[in-house]
Symmetry: C2
Subunit: 243 residues, 2 copies
Amino acid sequence: MTLGKLYAIGVGPGDPQLLTIKAANILQRIKYVFTAASDSNGKSLALQIASQHLAPDAKIHPLYFPMTRNKERLEKAWEENCTKIKHVLQLPEDAAFITLGDPSTYSTFTYLMRKLNKSVDLHCEIVPGITSYQASAALVRLPLAEGEESFTIVSGAKGTKELEHALTYSDNIVIIKAYKHYKEIVTFLKEKGLAEHSVAVRRCGLPGEEISFQIDEWDGEKKSYFTLLIVKKRPLHKKLFYK
Amino acid sequence: MTLGKLYAIGVGPGDPQLLTIKAANILQRIKYVFTAASDSNGKSLALQIASQHLAPDAKIHPLYFPMTRNKERLEKAWEENCTKIKHVLQLPEDAAFITLGDPSTYSTFTYLMRKLNKSVDLHCEIVPGITSYQASAALVRLPLAEGEESFTIVSGAKGTKELEHALTYSDNIVIIKAYKHYKEIVTFLKEKGLAEHSVAVRRCGLPGEEISFQIDEWDGEKKSYFTLLIVKKRPLHKKLFYK
């Protein structure tokens, strides 16, 4: 049996104009669109960003991935979600799974692709998207890396555990998901003398977007899941870069 | 005096459809387009990629950045290039500097912005682009990072010098510019038992694009500047990801 094709589409960090032309062209002709949603409200930021690019007759299927550690409940949700996608592919019809940022960078799509592959001979194509850290670097006009420098992306969800190593060996660091342990991370960067080499960006490309070169001014307030820090070994030329 | 605005436009790794909608919209109305070119032939890959998106009356200005270590010659070239851009901004007209991949990631634009800022009150906007490593990850269907993993981008131009450290602390590594020291890098990865966890991609999105999960089969032949390696600490599920 020939299955439809599954497209994983990165919709970028927020601005609907930051989708690639390829992503927009595919979405314009796809009738079945899947998107991840937390089960509490069914809202999908990826869907809001992509909405102006969707076909008028596109059917939207929010997939509920419950925020739980209950393995049985989680497994059941994944199975149901995979079944929904398989139904469409078996029609056979093409489908799109839209994801915030880039499908290869911290996306649910990787797990979904693996799960689906276990029971069907999945034919899929991944369309890359702009990540939040690229859009943030562009916004504050600070390069992520120059010349032969290295740069590392770490998750702040683990606190400062891996930061020490990354800061030792990498010339540039981006700390994504810096919201939960923000204060701890800022204290750590101050101790290392790197607070002055850092910039914080919150909700890049989304309503409420904010930038701070005084990273400690956000301590303990106005937290957002979409908070990241760009930390550079080199001193920043703030006046040069951001105005 | 009001100056024109300078847009730094990331045109992505090769496929003209991987420009963002924002990048294409800006290019459609910009009359002055600057692009980096090596002085030997004046060719610009960024220009080839962007060409279908340019205004019909756009004036193309290749900027020659000679591949030399002669400081005097280099400095002279930079000065001339900055002067050309300033002339347009002072008309005043908006201008675009197009760059392969993303303007914040290993791009000449960072240097250019710094130089320009020294003599004019530069008003610029950076439009992010898809990088070669994102497009490569999408092509081979391997995630760059999952969950709370970290990932590091290192330059292979330095050989294996920084790889040891990066492999110690990072869950995923991308080695860009892996062409010159390719054999040395592959030998190093074999010693670490990571050759089986690696994939090589050459000229992603360009004519002559190639993928290899047998990274040692490229030893000593068919080198390309646009060669990168994705190395993962976790074993690859090759059949799962690439077919």
